[in-house]
Structure formats: C-alpha cells, structure tokens
Symmetry: C2
Subunit: 220 residues, 2 copies
C-alpha cells in the first residue's frame, strides 16, 4: 500500500489508536462498512477530518462508498505496529504494576510482557498473571540475554531515571513511563519515551468542570 506518511503530524498519529479502538468496537458490533461522517460522529471529528487523516496513510476509502471496517482496522493496526510482536518488561510490581500486568490487555495491542522486576523480596520469585517477577539486580543480564523492545516503568519517580538509563543501555527502543517524571535521555535520541501523566488528564477534567458552562473549548 502506498503511504503518504513521510511527514505525519503527531496529532494524526495520536488519533490512529482512537481509530483502531473505534473500528475494533464497530467490528465487534458486526458493522461491515462505515461512512466517514458516521465514523466522525462516533469519534467527535468531522467527516473531512477523517478523510484527511486517513489520506495521510494512503487513502483506504472509496468515494460515496465508505470504509470497510475490517480492512481499515487491519491497515491501521499494521501502521501502528500491532503485528510486530513487541516484547516488554515491567519494572516495578507495586499496585500499578500489578494492575497493568493483570488487567491491561497488552496482547490486544501486539505487546507480550515477558518478565517483571522489583526490589521487594516478597514478590521476587513469584508470578503475577503468569509473568515471572525477578530481582531488579537481574535486569541488566536479562536485557543482554533477551531482546526487549519496550520497558514499562512503574517504579517510584525517584528511581525512574536510573531505571530508564538501564533500559536504554540494555537496548530497549521504547519506554512506557508511568513514573510522573520527565525522563531526559539525552544520549539516547533513538529511544522513544511515551509518558502517561495521570495528573494532566485529571487537571484537564478539573478545568472542564470549573469553567463557565457556556465556555466550551473548540475541538481541535
């Protein structure tokens, strides 16, 4: 497929997972085909926005005919790298690490969690949701012996930068960071950090319920 994505804006990239999620739901509901206006309505975007976004990735739609849900979902999944089979490790098996390993469906997103690491003797040597928990002391050796694409950081923020450094030295290509601290990886330009900042989300909600009722932000 010809892709027009040599320079795609971050805003479009960030919408792709939303497309994927909505298309997955549509497929589960048995929808075979959808127009850009119906898809736009479900996602809070205009039909023209939808057409523009998908054009960046090579079209997909047919004028007056809409999109094939299954096919569009697969193509977007491909673009997102869902079929690459990324291997991940989780650093920190506290409440959040537990929650992610046990409840978050990594597999649906093309990611296999293969090991977890912690400093707590009570969890080292156990399994959480079939994932073995090792001592953090074993991390560097583990990264030498296994190809790991993604490191998930759920350790306290004070130790997060050190953990990130060890992941980078161990050759991971992406860090999914829940530690609520900006990780500055200045000697690792090729490692991507994706931060999950719960506070940003809560503060946005706080803003939305605090502002005068007639003052609705415009959708971008």
């Amino acid at each position: 497929m010809k892709k027009n994505n040599s320079k795609v804006s971050i805003a479009v990239i960030r919408r792709l997972p939303r497309y994927y999620r909505h298309l997955t739901e549509l497929r589960q509901q048995g929808t075979v085909r959808i127009s850009s206006s119906a898809l736009g309505k479900a996602m809070g975007l205009t039909a023209s926005q939808i057409r523009q976004d998908l054009f960046c990735f090579g079209g997909f739609g047919q004028q007056g005919y809409g999109y094939n849900v299954e096919k569009l979902r697969e193509e977007i999944g491909d673009i997102l790298g869902i079929n690459r089979g990324h291997a991940a490790v989780v650093l920190g098996v506290g409440n959040l690490g537990h929650a992610l390993i046990q409840n978050f469906k990594f597999g649906n997103n093309g990611v296999r969690v293969e090991a977890a690491f912690d400093i707590d003797d009570d969890v080292i040597g156990t399994s959480v949701g079939n994932i073995p928990v090792y001592s953090i002391d074993e991390l560097d050796d583990y990264l030498i012996q296994h190809r790991v694409d993604i490191g998930v950081i759920t350790v306290p923020r004070s130790v997060a930068p050190l953990m990130a450094e060890r992941l980078v030295h161990g050759g991971v290509r992406g860090i999914w960071n829940f530690a609520n601290v900006e990780l500055k990886l200045e000697d690792a330009q090729d490692v991507v950090v994706e931060n999950v900042h719960f506070a940003d989300s809560l503060l946005t909600l706080s803003y939305m319920i605090s502002k005068p009722a007639d003052d609705n932000g415009e959708e971008e």
Copy 2:
C-alpha cells in the same frame, strides 16, 4: 485578570496541565524567572507557541523579561481549577483503584478523594490510604448526602456504563474514566468525561518504535 479564553482550543487546554507540571518542577529547582524560549525548550514547543498559548489566558509575560515562574504557575493553577477543592469518589478498589488511591497525589491537583466503593466484601468496611471503602449499594445514598464533583471509574468495562449513569444521576459534574470503554452520556450533556486510554498511549509508542528511523512525525 483579563482572559481571552472565550474560545480556547482543546489542544491549548490539554497543554495547560503540562505547563503547570513543568512550572512546578522549575519552582522546586528554585527557578524564579524563565524566558518563553527556555520554557519552550523544556516542553518541546517553540517560544512563539508558548507566547500564543499563554496569550489565550491573558498574557502573563513581559517582553524581553520572561515569565515569573511562581506567578505563572499560580495563575495556570487557578485556570485549571486547582483551588476549587473538588471532591471525588473512586468506584472500584481493585489493583488500579488501589494504585490510584495510594500512589496518585490527588491533593496536588486540587482533588480530595472522600470515599471509595466496591462490591467485594473483603474490602468493604476497610480503609485504603485513609479512604473508607463502602459497598456500591450505598453509592446512590452517598451521592444524595454529599456533594461529589468527580467520579473516578476503575470498575470492569462491562459495568462501567451503569456506574457512570448512577454518578450522573447523583449529580457529579465530571467522570474520570479508566474503564477503557467510551461512556455515552446522552442525557447528560453537562457532565464531562475524561477517558484514560492506556491502549492509545501504548499503541502510539508501538507506532513510534515501529516506523523507519528517518520518518519522524512533526511535532504539532
């Protein structure tokens, strides 16, 4: 303060918490004053973007002089509603509910968690991080008796829509939704839903580490 925010784009609003977070870190480091270019560098934005964003909310800066970190942080905190003292309840005290109540600093974001609700007899009647856990059967009465601004949903996705309805009927104004399901509150246009979709974040990371190395998305 004069605000020019009658119609502020969602993109700007979503950056405000990031400003707040960076300014909090700058303050902790003892920085008193910062130029728009230095602030931009820390946040991955251009100086002109920074000036534009902050102009939407009434200016703050002085030409050639930069921003007062403390003052700008306070003003943005005010805009975000941090001083409103929003009261919240958490529905679902599983791994994720635990993680949020025990580890997430609601207070730093101007939100007080006052109660949690679950269906599990093992946690009902206990406290998690000083927050009492009640039976979900008591939710409706609780909402009649207490002003609750925000409901945090960490229940399984199958029951999330029902929980959202009960929160809306109970008068909450915002829902912070971790259930990974779109909540359609069609008879509650004035209730704001903020979704935390872990999958969207992981898929963005997956995309970034899957694409060819020379194909960097343009920052918006």
